[in-house]
């Protein structure tokens, strides 16, 4: 969840509440959903919040929300915007992968250290959230005094150009560097360049911003040193590039609102996409930005009442909207519907329901009286879950400790250490009947446990790289971990196993297996079979155990588990090689079969 760092002195200044204590702010902010997390080394208070109200990523935005909360502000506020002087020309050489740009000019800026810090923080936090790590949107803020915009033709406005640059083309001095570097050199040699190199990796041309003097910004990687913003900067050029026009426009709005809250003046910028530019935005080729258009959505009085479970007066609803920083008007028809105006810094209102939530928050969800819904339904367990449970009860009655193991495991644990080869069992070897097309039970096909693995594409841990194809390895691993504990150790599990299977819509066959292992000085085939028989008896299932071979078990002491005539598993004494591999010093007899056989 996003975290915003707040200087409470700034908060006092921006809200005009000079007497409010830090503690009171904490309380009030909790009410807005910002939870106090701790303090930074510099004494700033850190607050965590859910990533919907990204306009609260700066002290200016938080102060605005507080002013609404205190009732000092009401309704939608839109800052004045002066007419544009500057143009951002979008050249056709702009890389297809990052086609969009937006921006604004800010004048009359007076940034002290704190304000500059706050601006940089807002930029970083927006990159991390809406900007998706700068991939979707990246912000560059420049000292306008250092930008030289040559009019393209006599009499037209000054401009900068968003275009593509050859990776080893023009050079510039990036921030935190002292020499001229090509874009490729930035990616290879500059710390920030290395951090963001993967964002432009593989592009033929890199995104670049030029003015009359040449390349001065390399989005989304780094700005040039020439236009670096300092506390001395009085006029700013804000540009944003990205993969989505709406996203960068909103990010731009949030920046503009924050600077406006500090008394700066916003000046529009024209964005002009060249005819050949890959993707003129959904809003056309000629844009005036920032876009402070106010959205409108309609929401019915009835929906507000039913969703919140409260009867409202209309004026009460309008009041809630206004205290949420929205404007609302309604028609005096029978079905009351509010036309709600939404300010351009809001990025979270996708549906009228989001407005009901705003009413709820302004009204105070704490005020709502819980009630148990007067709706009758009949409860019940799923058949499979009841069966699993019944088998567990049988196993526990036979003295087995019921286990709960991970479904994820690794190839060595699932196969190698059990002396089983992948692809020797299950769907990989089950041959459909030529006439009926029906396949045998996968659990009993070939070598039990030898199904082909479903592997995790990019595993982070060597211990968890695939789903287990059978449960017995988990039981044996558990025994391995518990050699220091007293014997006998009789353990069992009714649990999930999976293997590759093209016949399934997900291409994964999921089953529940019943596995039991008897680990004790006198563990024998007989001990395991006696227990297996008892389980089968409990479910009225007929058990047969014809002799088979299975590499996990001792030859001559291994049998297939056939239940009601179908081969569904294996039973036997574990091979000494498998025991020794798991550091076990007692014999182990075990069985495993498909739970469905007991249905």
């Amino acid at each position: 969840m996003p975290v915003v760092d707040l200087d409470t002195d700034e908060l006092r200044g921006l809200t005009g509440r000079t007497d409010t204590s830090d503690e009171e702010f904490k309380q009030d902010l909790f009410g807005l959903g910002l939870e106090f997390e701790g303090e930074t080394d510099d004494g700033l208070l850190q607050f965590e919040f859910a990533p919907d109200r990204l306009d609260r990523l700066s002290v200016e935005g938080v102060a605005r929300s507080l002013r609404y909360h205190y009732g000092d502000d009401r309704g939608v506020y839109v800052p004045e915007t002066n007419d544009s002087e500057w143009t951002i020309e979008v050249d056709e050489s702009v890389p297809d992968e990052r086609p969009y740009v937006t921006g604004a000019v800010i004048r009359g800026v007076d940034l002290d250290e704190g304000a500059l810090e706050s601006l940089i923080q807002l930029q970083e936090k927006l990159h991390a959230t809406m900007g998706r790590g700068r991939a979707k949107g990246a912000i560059g803020i420049h000292d306008l005094a250092m930008v030289k915009g040559a009019p393209l033709q006599e009499g037209s406005e000054p401009s900068i150009t968003y275009r593509g640059v050859e990776p080893d083309g023009d050079t510039f001095v990036p921030l935190d560097a002292n020499n001229e570097l090509t874009p490729d050199a930035v990616l290879a040699e500059h710390d920030t360049g290395r951090t963001y190199a993967d964002l432009v990796e593989g592009l033929d041309r890199y995104p670049a911003i030029y003015d009359e003097l040449g390349l001065f910004s390399f989005p989304p990687v780094i700005n040039g040193k020439r236009t670096e913003v300092t506390t001395g900067s009085r006029e700013l050029f804000v540009e944003l590039t990205g993969t989505d026009q709406w996203t960068i426009d909103r990010m731009c709005n949030i920046i503009c609102y924050a600077l406006s809250a500090r008394g700066a003046t916003i000046e529009a910028v024209e964005v002009s996409y060249a005819d050949g530019a890959t993707a003129p935005s959904e809003y056309g080729a000629e844009l005036v930005r920032p876009n402070f258009d106010v959205d409108e959505k309609a929401v019915s009085h009835d929906r507000i009442e039913t969703l919140l479970g409260v009867d409202f007066e209309r004026e009460e609803v309008v009041d809630c909207f206004e205290r949420a920083g929205l404007d609302a008007s309604y028609t005096l028809d029978e079905d009351v519907t509010y036309e709600v105006a939404i300010p351009p810094y809001r990025v979270d209102v996708l549906h009228p329901l989001d407005l009901v939530d705003d009413v709820g928050r302004a009204y105070g969800f704490d005020e709502l009286e819980p009630r148990y819904p007067d709706v009758g339904t009949v409860g019940g367990r799923h058949e499979r879950s009841r069966l699993e449970d019944a088998v567990r009860t049988s196993l526990v009655g036979l003295g087995f400790e019921d286990l709960l193991n991970f479904h994820m495991t690794s190839g060595p644990e699932n196969y190698d250490r059990m002396n089983v080869e992948p692809g020797t069992g299950g769907a990989a070897v089950a041959e459909a009947d030529a006439d009926s097309g029906a396949r045998p039970a996968l659990a009993g096909a070939g070598i039990v446990g030898g199904g082909a693995p479903v592997e995790i594409t990019e595993p982070y841990s060597e211990e968890y790289t695939q789903l287990r194809t059978w449960a017995l390895p988990s039981l044996v691993m558990l025994l391995e971990r518990n050699t220091h504990n007293a014997y006998p150790q009789d353990v069992a599990e009714v649990g999930f196993v999976a293997e590759r299977d093209d016949a399934e819509s997900t291409n994964v066959a999921e089953r529940r297996h019943v596995a039991g292992a008897v680990a004790r000085r006198d563990a024998s085939y007989e001990a395991a079979k006696g227990r297996l028989q008892a389980v089968c008896d409990d479910f009225g299932a007929e058990l047969a155990t014809p002799r088979i071979e299975h590499p996990t078990f001792i030859d001559g002491r291994t049998a297939a588990v056939e239940i009601d005539g179908e081969r569904v598993g294996v039973i036997g004494e574990l091979h000494p090689a498998v025991l020794v591999e798991h550091d076990l010093e007692v014999p182990v007899a075990a069985f495993e079969f498909d739970l469905d056989a007991l249905r």
Binding site: D357, G376, G379, S461, S505
Partner: protein, 502 residues
Amino acid sequence: MRLPERQLAVLEAASATDGRTIDEIATETGLKPETVVGAAFDLRDEGLCSVAERTAETVDLTDEGRRYVADGLPETRLYRAGLALDADEAPVSMGRVIGEAALDGPEVDIALSNFARKGFGSIDSGELRVAPDADPDADPEASVLAALADGDDPAVDEAVLDRLDSRGLVDRAESVTRSVTLTDDGVDALMGGVAATETVSELTPELLATGEWRDVEFAEYNVEADAPGVSGGRKHVLRRTADRVKDVLVGMGFQEMEGPHADSDFWINDCLFMPQDHPARTHWDRFALDVEPMEGIPDELMARVEAAHRDGWGLDGDGYHSPWSEEFAREVALRGHTTSLSMRYLSGIAGAELDPPQRYFSVEKVYRNDTLDPTHLLEFFQIEGWVMAEDLSVRDLMGTFEEFYRQFGITDIRFKPHYNPYTEPSFELFGEHPETGEEIEIGNSGVFREEVTGPLGVDCDVMAWGLALERLAMLTTGAEDIRDLHGTLADIDFLRNAEVSY
């Protein structure tokens, strides 16, 4: 009169004039001393004999003490070796004397420290000189050891015993000696003749069949003694917690859902209106599987979900400004939440089309790519529940969850407004830990957005919530490390000893 065999034996062995000790009677009767004690007390309770108790100190030689009785005390051996080397006349190097005395290991230090203490001689600059006038034969420590070895009563100087005790050569213990004397009643009883009742140790089928059980006495057990341990099987603690949750939910009218663990991103995320570029959908957070993309998703449903993502739902709805591809939606991964089941049921693909009202739940495993630590696992159980009805309100949601948590002793639920991509309004649920009183997060809830329910074809309200089962289990079992409970790292002893919850 009739007495049990062993009481009779003790009665016969006792005398009316001399007190006879338990050991004496045990030797005579061949009974175990503890049996004699038991019988003697029984006889006393019947007034047939009296039992007198005397507390005495016993002093026994330790193994080391016995060795010294045989070999001589180390210091004495040192002295004699010194004499043999004429150390009474001129100092002799210590090493030689020790060698001559054949002292070894810790005995060397013992010899040296006691040698000087007892005035057997002196040691200076590594040379040893013996005192000509010393007399080890008169050493009281040696003579007490010898007397003890002979079984004589060590009526000796307490100080010498203390010294031997501190040297670890004797064990001193207090013992109670009991002696049994016949009372007059006891004598009378013997005169009148006492017969033995038969005592049996086991109740056999023969005894029952023949009726002989009527004439026998059953040997008494020490019923207070610990019995050998028995470990029966038991259901896993986490399963029991899950059972309890299921009981509660079934009782509240919820039906159980089930469905695939490996599922398409469509059911796991797209139906939930999670934008495809949401951070939780990057490969860091999910377990993508190396299988072919999923088929069998109804085309119309796919189209409606895509429309919701791209353009929003309803007249005034806006979509996400995020990329969306059917290819990604069809990728198969392990589910990160069981809300994928809710989506399947709400869409009707899991069974019948559902009409309101409905309540459904599951307590099933989910997979999250997290760091394995005491409170986080890669696999855990999620409790998932939802209620479908016309015109559900936030108040209904609050009432339902209050009722659910109340069943687990968690009251005073607080609803903190929250944000989820798939619910609006959304609330994080906080409750008080029943023992520590701490405020803890116990769930996430909300009313499904229309962008979620609309494409699924649901046109009434659905409220839902989710919670990790392990969180509840840790509260109810007191487990501090979740890895003790779940997985192949589990300690079988912990599972055997975990308190049963119900």
